[in-house]
Symmetry: T
Subunit: 142 residues, 12 copies
Amino acid sequence: MSRSRPVVVIINGPNLNLLGTREKGIYGDKSLENIIADVQTKFPDFDIISYQSNIEGELIDAIQKYGFSALGIVFNPGGYTHTSVALRDVIAAITTPVVEVHISNIHNREDFRRLSLLAPVCKGGVVGLGTYGYEAAVRSFL
Amino acid sequence: MSRSRPVVVIINGPNLNLLGTREKGIYGDKSLENIIADVQTKFPDFDIISYQSNIEGELIDAIQKYGFSALGIVFNPGGYTHTSVALRDVIAAITTPVVEVHISNIHNREDFRRLSLLAPVCKGGVVGLGTYGYEAAVRSFL
Amino acid sequence: MSRSRPVVVIINGPNLNLLGTREKGIYGDKSLENIIADVQTKFPDFDIISYQSNIEGELIDAIQKYGFSALGIVFNPGGYTHTSVALRDVIAAITTPVVEVHISNIHNREDFRRLSLLAPVCKGGVVGLGTYGYEAAVRSFL
Amino acid sequence: MSRSRPVVVIINGPNLNLLGTREKGIYGDKSLENIIADVQTKFPDFDIISYQSNIEGELIDAIQKYGFSALGIVFNPGGYTHTSVALRDVIAAITTPVVEVHISNIHNREDFRRLSLLAPVCKGGVVGLGTYGYEAAVRSFL
Amino acid sequence: MSRSRPVVVIINGPNLNLLGTREKGIYGDKSLENIIADVQTKFPDFDIISYQSNIEGELIDAIQKYGFSALGIVFNPGGYTHTSVALRDVIAAITTPVVEVHISNIHNREDFRRLSLLAPVCKGGVVGLGTYGYEAAVRSFL
Amino acid sequence: MSRSRPVVVIINGPNLNLLGTREKGIYGDKSLENIIADVQTKFPDFDIISYQSNIEGELIDAIQKYGFSALGIVFNPGGYTHTSVALRDVIAAITTPVVEVHISNIHNREDFRRLSLLAPVCKGGVVGLGTYGYEAAVRSFL
Amino acid sequence: MSRSRPVVVIINGPNLNLLGTREKGIYGDKSLENIIADVQTKFPDFDIISYQSNIEGELIDAIQKYGFSALGIVFNPGGYTHTSVALRDVIAAITTPVVEVHISNIHNREDFRRLSLLAPVCKGGVVGLGTYGYEAAVRSFL
Amino acid sequence: MSRSRPVVVIINGPNLNLLGTREKGIYGDKSLENIIADVQTKFPDFDIISYQSNIEGELIDAIQKYGFSALGIVFNPGGYTHTSVALRDVIAAITTPVVEVHISNIHNREDFRRLSLLAPVCKGGVVGLGTYGYEAAVRSFL
Amino acid sequence: MSRSRPVVVIINGPNLNLLGTREKGIYGDKSLENIIADVQTKFPDFDIISYQSNIEGELIDAIQKYGFSALGIVFNPGGYTHTSVALRDVIAAITTPVVEVHISNIHNREDFRRLSLLAPVCKGGVVGLGTYGYEAAVRSFL
Amino acid sequence: MSRSRPVVVIINGPNLNLLGTREKGIYGDKSLENIIADVQTKFPDFDIISYQSNIEGELIDAIQKYGFSALGIVFNPGGYTHTSVALRDVIAAITTPVVEVHISNIHNREDFRRLSLLAPVCKGGVVGLGTYGYEAAVRSFL
Amino acid sequence: MSRSRPVVVIINGPNLNLLGTREKGIYGDKSLENIIADVQTKFPDFDIISYQSNIEGELIDAIQKYGFSALGIVFNPGGYTHTSVALRDVIAAITTPVVEVHISNIHNREDFRRLSLLAPVCKGGVVGLGTYGYEAAVRSFL
Amino acid sequence: MSRSRPVVVIINGPNLNLLGTREKGIYGDKSLENIIADVQTKFPDFDIISYQSNIEGELIDAIQKYGFSALGIVFNPGGYTHTSVALRDVIAAITTPVVEVHISNIHNREDFRRLSLLAPVCKGGVVGLGTYGYEAAVRSFL
């Protein structure tokens, strides 16, 4: 994995492949691909890699794959945010810092969404600032 | 996915592939295939599609696949009933109504089985009425 | 109580006498009498008996009266669902199986409505499928 | 129920028929009848109707009876304040506004008395101001 | 209510009218009438009055009726043990001491049966000693 | 503080200085000044003093100042209702009775608003009856 | 341990050796010795053995010693009622039935006294009936 | 408050005046003044106003002052994050959007720091990204 | 703040300015000034500084002012003991050790008074020993 | 699956493929392959099969595959220990006994790691004894 | 127990016999004997009696022995602080006041150490001030 | 305690002296003495010392006695597992590692048995593997 530019990996969890197709009032009408492309445009000095899966274990695989070499990981864990000890373990095990991103404000929804199991082992997080959250998270690795 | 008859999808989660082979006193001795075949027989005007997986993310994939075109989804989420925010999110995101089915009465077992994370976003549910629950759920889409 | 056709008793608890007069958007505009009449029409081989009371103890009386001879009891306990140990005791004491029915989805309302004290001693339940729930419950006794 | 003066109904729940006979240091020595008579005297332009029962379901009956025509209901639910979902349901179902009254301060007694199941569906409440609470509640309908 | 012998009232709550007819392995095969008759035989110097109702409010009425004149009240509140603040209030309001009786051991059943709302305002209680509990409670008034 | 007419102090806590300017649908369009003026008009025999602060400690100061001489204090503690042990302590320390007022119904909002830390040490309270609550509270001191 | 009369053992836990010397208003002025002597007098056909210790493990020893041969054990566990899993284990392990006795009403004291860890494995219990509780418990073995 | 450039207000709560002087390992060695100056430099088209107070009520005053005219408020509430209903109320009352910022990761500290009472009424938040959080929050108003 | 004698600061929180004027049975009849004077007399080698405020933020200011130079701080936080994360933060931030003092025994009052949010970051505490607690705390700095 | 030697299957869950590469201070520097090889060496009479996956559903598949024929299963469920009802269900459904193994002591880490959802349906468990735990578990099948 | 000087008893619970031998960084290197000797030196007018046991019941015995005659008891209950209702009962039963002492700050350790079951029945307590706590407690009896 | 062979001490808590005499279906029919003898046979190079007591404080004494010299301690704490902070403290204080053993699976019994207060300070534990657990624990010291 020898690359000339530093790598930042943007990993999206379950149902985020639906971005741009559902609930556009909340999430906007840009697809995940467009969002990632916009981020790449804003950070020409970074090599932005994007990965999405609905399968918890595949997200673990991806974090293991990049977690010892990338400069940073931006992670929107979707519904696994509140339930996955296994994702927490892999974030704690790797050496690359992870910034957690949520597009909407998870704090004004159901009570069980208020606590992220992952937040304590992440470097930090951005919540409720729309797709700008991805950009803000990448910028934090500068 | 243009079909002449309306589609109802029956999705079964983890361990339901064991139906008919284990704990026959509780679950009867019909296999999942036989159960689905019986349901198809009872509803000749519907196109009954059956899907089963033990993997949470594949169940999400299936619900995404059918959730914008089918008439209804009958979902027995098995052990993911009580733990999966990601399945809740996909049921909330799709436009097809979902009816939750449990073969046995989940309310007279361990306490942690009493609350379904999915129930609040489903249209309704049938619990404890055996495999008749699949039939009752399909009929609710009439 | 010697009858030629098997008896199924439909018992409705507090405030269900208001059906058809209040919140029609949720509950439809059919009165309880009309709903029962429709069920009787659908099951000509059953003798459908209907009882309603707002008084917890009278509901206990009714369940005692029919609970040792009827084929089945369909019970919509209304607000007593979540608070009545006494109703739970009578359901556990009788020999007739009871199926619990709720017209609306009690799982997407206040938290205290999510747990039914009665569900653990009922045979099963149907939730959120409208007045069709009464029909589905009766059919489960076939 | 066509009356010339607007009707306000004062409904009292369990054990309030003992007013004036027990614990006079707390509740005073006026009987319920005297209290209601005093209220009627203070509001000559209202037709004050009084009802008391120790039976939860009869209180539901009474609220159903007056709840679609009276100007207001003043309700002291006594011990059912903290346990009756069925009373909550009927208050939510009717169109007449309900004001909850407690003669003594329920907040400086046992913990389980601190939360009223009914308060969220009432218009408001008066607590701890003695029998003046009935008067204050009626006046709120002016 | 002028009687020559001191009065002890035995009040039984919901479903205790079924004694002797259900679950004989647990509750024995004596009817409530027989149990009371046996108690009367054991205490010839007392006038034993028996009352049973499935209706919470009627139990309140009965306790109000006897609670200012009887020597003692023996109360088996059945399923209302754990849910009735209104019964607690009436026991606290009367002057006659109340002894709570449960035929079976409520402590080795479901968790919600372990706490009696009434126990703190009763004089004491007898639990799990079968129908002998009624006798032991009456004897405590000697 | 020798005055000819008895003094009633109306103290308002955080954000109540915004009355009449925000959320008029809920709180009406009268400013706090106008509300107090109306109350003074209704009670010409009382000397109505009004105080408002957003600072918890200044509210404590005010309650200390008037709490040993005024006839009564009407207190709308706003957001400090649920969090201030220090305000509870000062209400318990003074000799003037305090009546707690909330303009809107705090019981049909978030769960954390349901319990008032202050209610147990107040004389009583009026909730959800709009600005009439101030009037009802003052009248309770008659 | 071959005895001609059946043996009933009365075991008292911590601080009950102080009976008759402290808080006489609650516990009366009879010493533990006197209480046991009175019980022996009332049951001449039983051999009443009395044991008291403040040490949890010695109470376990005593229950082991008598728990396979005595007719019954009457046990007042004092403060170990609410904390001792080890005492619960020994009661469950022996074959002699145990009846739990508390002199005062443990239900109107601190919350932590309301649940007995031992009650679920005892045959039954007598609470709040004073030293008569020992007699009532012994009589239950008749 | 007519200004030519749009105003963004950065409000800091208790103890943040100590920035740069304490725990430099965690918070860096820049004073609050320097941090604000850096932000102003990065956003020359905004008018950045800075306010700090240790007094909860003064923070409410400041949010009221700017909350109806500024483009955005960046708010680091410090220790009031977890305890202030009054601050939550003022954020809900104003029209300017608020972004909550925490310099360190509040999720890997004590449990009571995990839930922000303010987050549900803020637009969003940035946590754990150091003083870069202020910049990221301001940029979200672009 | 160069002083010849070592400085110990005694800081008192809300309502402690009422000492000597209220509830003398509990708190004695000495004013705060007298108490401090007595302490000064007992420790002639210390420079005892006293500060009191009802305002949480002013207490934070005071702790910041003395917290990097004084030998020790004796702090009676009054009602802020149980609610103030901001006071906890400042105690953790300073270098001077803090000893928490409560005049009465906070453990035999309401449940919410049993846990001090501040205790984990203080050096230690003295509770329930009356005004002697101030002396004991100062002496611990010897 | 007819084999001459009895089969013991060692199944490892998420992140255990990282053994030997991360946190060597805790987990040692042996890879999972080496650990399994060592176990095979110690038990020449067993056929040791090893399986690892990060995907919950694949672990269910594996347990279904071996769970009706193997002599025993040794299972280190990693982060799924605390969250997977579906894994619990499959362990309960199979006939092969399962012994749960954790390399490190899960009881001295975060609170949420203390309870294993799987433990109640396993035969037993070994915790905190390093990789020796695998050996001890296999030996238990002798 | 007639002595010329007033008696203060210092009772130490489980593991405090290890003082001076373990964790010297926290507890110092003085043995319990030395600590007591130092206290005796400081209070020549008192007769200081020291007792230590690891057995809960023996501590109860000791408190009973001295609890009706000594001037004061200083009690470090060690691990029984949080679990012993029986010790609480004996402290409540005796007439001698008890001051609870903990050498280290029990509030910055595990959560279960924060609440003392004994504190509500003690006169007061000293926490976290090292072995000086014994001296401060004794002095409080002056 | 100078011995030629390394010492491993097996300590058994309350009721384990009954092994082999009670509930043989669960615990087998070997006495504790036989179990220890078998272990000694399996580890001829160790000096196995066995100790049992029903008294919590004597178990503490024993752990203190061996806890600074033995190679390892195998501890089955019986019912004290879930309630003894004092045993936890002594295990934390000694230098010898402790392995916790439970013969039966404590995780499929009552809820209060699921958490061991001791586990966090032990090296590890073996649960549910019968008396083999003692052997497995001793072997872990090899």
